[in-house]
Each structure stands twice: as C-alpha cells, then as structure tokens.
Amino acid sequence: MSKVLMKGNEAVGAAAIEAGCKFFFGYPITPSSEIPEYMSKALPEAGGVFLQAESEIAAINMVYGAAGAGARAMTASSSPGISLKQEGITYAAGAELPCVIVNMMRGGPGLGSIQPSQSDYFQSTRGGGNGDYRTLCYAPASVQEIVDYVMLAFDKADYYRNPVLICADGMIGQMMEAVEFKEPAHIDLPPKDWTTIGTAEKRKPNIINSLYLEAEVLQDHNRDIDKKYKLMEENEVLYEAYGLEDADVVLVSFGTTSRIVKTAMKQAEKKGIKTGIIRPITIWPFPYDVFKNIGNKAKGVLTVEMNLGQMIDDVKIGVSGKLPVYFNGTQGGVVPTPASILEDIEKIAGGTK
C-alpha cells in the first residue's frame, strides 16, 4: 500500500479498524477528539459500531462488556479522561479482558492544559487503577509508529488477555505525517473460549469477573496474572538505541520528545560531542537491560521528558548507579527546544553539569 498523509488521531482509528477493531466507545476531549470523530464515520462503514458514551467511565465499561463478548474493542481519550477510565482498566486487567486504550496526553494535574505532555508516565507504567496489575504500554514517536503499535496492541491484548495502552501526546495526535499500512507479522492467538456469548444451554456458563472473596484464591489469581507480566517483561520490551558504545552523553527520551532530542544530538555532533540515545518504545515493560551497552566514555545520562521527571526512577534502575543521571524537562504543555537540550549535553560533556 502506498503512503498517505494522516493526522495521528485519524491514524489511531484507521489502524484500529485495520486490526479488526469493530467497536469504539468514547467521549470527546481535546486533543484526541478526532479519534471518535474519525471512528463515527469510518467504523460503521467497516461494519462496526461507534457509540458516544455519556462519560469516560461508561465508555471504558462498554469496552469491558464488548471485550467480554469477544469483540476487539477500544476507547481513546486524553489525560483527565484517562484518569476516569482507570476503574475500567483495573477491572479489565482483573477479569483478563483484552482491549486497547489510547491516551493522547495533555498537561496536568487536574484539568491542566490541552497542550502536549508526557505527565501520565506514572499512571501508565505504575498502574493507575487499584490493585496489582500491569498494562503493556507503547509510546509511539511518529504517526507511522501510531499505526504500527495500535495494530500490534490488538494482537498483544488478545495474546495476553490484558488491556494495552498507547501513550502518545497531543502533538502526535494533531500532526500529520506520511504513513504506510503494512501487513503485521502473524501472531498465533489463543482461542477466545472464555467469552460471554450465550451458552446455547450446551456448556457451563462463562463468567467474566474480577472478584475473588477468598484471600488465598485471589492470591492465586494475582500470581497467575503475574506470570503474564513476567512474560511481557521477557518478550515485549521494545526500544530504539544507538551510539551508546562511544557516547560522551547518553540521552533517554520517549515519544515526541525523542524527536526533539535527536535534533539536539545532530547539533551536538557538529560541535564534536558524541551522543547516544535510548528511546523506550514500551515504557512498560521498560528497557532496563540496554543501559548495559553504554560505553566507558560516557560522562552522564540525560533524561528528557515533558513532565517533572517521571521516568528518572526507571532510568536510574537501568543505569544502576554507574553514571550520574540528569534531567531536562518541560511541563504544562511546553515543548522542549533542541537548544535547551544541546546546552545540557554540552554541560555534561564538559563536566560542568
């Protein structure tokens, strides 16, 4: 298929439909409203159902019901809306329901701003809802990656019977880039023999549930689903990394911010400073192991994020105390400039930071 120019938010919808998503339940919020807008037109044309819910909470619970009935279902929103969906996400994780949730992050806390942000890193990678659970979480850095990872997310959700998050931001949602829809690699998926589609009085009822009143039984369930999380940590880590072996300064950044970091890296190169980058594509599970590839020349690691440094803890785990970790961040919807990142790179390389 040839390339087309698409807005990130529209690409979410197109990729979901391409991946066989037939049900979208959502609620409008800036800067992700183009997703429900796109779906309201495109999904019925693809033989699916779009429904504008009365609230974000209702939307995620509709996803829960549809997923329990065996459908590929999704919802999408931006930060405050995703907060409201946390209830449904933890229930889906507990009941082991596959679904895809897209977050076009905007500034917070509270109502915050509508400009791009990455300040839902904690919420996305540490849970967000109650209880012991994890969600596979992709952080695309381009509209093409939105397409690729939204499509992959549906397969991974079905494979693990777990919610999968796409964490992008308002910038990727709003911008247009060239995209190509490639046939995704085939993944063998387990049969959906657990769905509630009616027994036809020919089998025992299937029950979708996250309630286990006996502590020991819940503990067994917790340990069972933890096996999936361990498998994800083993098999699902995705990252982009280069230049680590002989870098003076290593940068760590995900999503939109990594693009700006790369511009700053090119500028540093011109000034004779060697840099490398680790770009987590899955922010959970986090690519801790790749930090081992940082060479001896490195003077420090610079984390660049559009938040107050929520990824620093993970970077420090990866660095394991071997190098100082510095932070360059913007908040509230302010996007970092290559100049400010370059300034920090120079300071670290020159030993003044």
Binding site: K3, L5, P31, Q174, M176, A178, R259, K266, T337
Partner: protein
C-alpha cells in the same frame, strides 16, 4: 535540505489547506514531512496557523520555534506573531492586500505579494492562499508545482479536480509576483 515554514492567517483564508498541500506534495516526492496545526482555544479565536516541515532527513520536532526558514502571513496579527519565529535571513511572505505594515525585524528576506488582488484578477478571491503558496514555491523550489497539483486531488478529493486549473493559475500568479519583485 530542510524547510520549516509557518502558514498563518484568519480562519477561512485557507492556510491549513496550503500547509497540507505542501506536506502532501513533499510526501509524493519521497521527502520526510510533518504538518502541525495550532489547536485548542487558539483555533476558536478566528486565527489559524500550521507548521510544515519538508526535509531530506527524518523530521525532529514538527514545531517551529525560532528556527523557521519561512513564514507565509496572510493577515496582520500573524505578521506580529510569527516574524519572530524565523531564523536570520528567513523568508517572510507578506500578504500585502491585508497587511499595510512592515515587519519589525530587519534581518529577514521579505517578499510582499498582493494575494487577494491577484486572486481577484483570476475571478476567485478564495485562491489568495494558493497565490501565496505559488510565491513561496518560486522562492524555495522545495517541491514541484506539479506535485502540489497532484496533491490537490489527493487532499480535497477527485470531485474537486475541476478546481485544479484555477489553482494552477493562482500558483503561477504568485510565482510571477515574486519574480517581478526580484527583477526590480
């Protein structure tokens, strides 16, 4: 080669549209492109702007912040707002029909185009945006005019293909306008 251009004006002047055309034309020519609109409350206030990057390499930030190589400003508020986002020597294309002031900066490569008058000469005031785009393409040669016309049908749909000739003329008018000015 990397062009970072801001297109700005009133809502309805078609600045988002010419941005999309430029990005799409760049894509057709195999270049890396991004198109980034202003969004949110800004969008409700009646002004519109977008940033387009066309590059031989992967595009870093799609935003333009003091590093614009060009700006197309269709109205006065846009001139004040965006002249400061350009690099020294950056190209500033001013719609002279609606802007009777000069930029405050003196280190820019300024070109005045009476886009609305030229569009009216073609009998369609709506193509003032295309006049500006034509002027910009003449100055930068960033993409071929043919690619833009090809993109036109892709962006606006086959049913708008009857509008290609008038838009082509508008692009030519804009190109002619800056050629004349350069000759003087």
């Amino acid at each position: 080669m990397e062009e970072k251009v801001i297109m700005a004006g009133f809502g309805g002047q078609g600045v988002m549209a010419i941005g999309k055309l430029l990005a799409y034309a760049g894509m057709i020519e195999g270049k890396h492109v991004t198109w980034m609109p202003s969004y949110g409350p800004e969008m409700r206030g009646g002004t519109a702007n977008c940033s387009v990057v066309v590059s031989d390499e992967e595009v870093g930030s799609p935003l333009i912040s003091k590093d614009g190589t060009a700006a197309i400003v269709m109205n006065l508020p846009s001139l004040a707002k965006f002249e400061k986002e350009l690099v020294p020597g950056g190209k500033l294309l001013v719609n002279k029909s609606l802007i009777n002031e000069e930029p405050t900066r003196t280190d820019l490569d300024v070109h005045y185009v009476s886009a609305n008058e030229l569009a009216s000469e073609l009998g369609n005031n709506k193509v003032a945006n295309m006049v500006m785009l034509g002027a910009y393409l003449e100055l930068t040669k960033i993409v071929d005019v043919e690619s833009v016309l090809h993109a036109f049908v892709k962006v606006f749909g086959e049913n708008k293909s009857k509008l290609v000739p008038i838009n082509k003329k508008a692009l030519e008018k804009g190109a002619e306008a800056v050629r004349k000015m350069q000759a003087v």
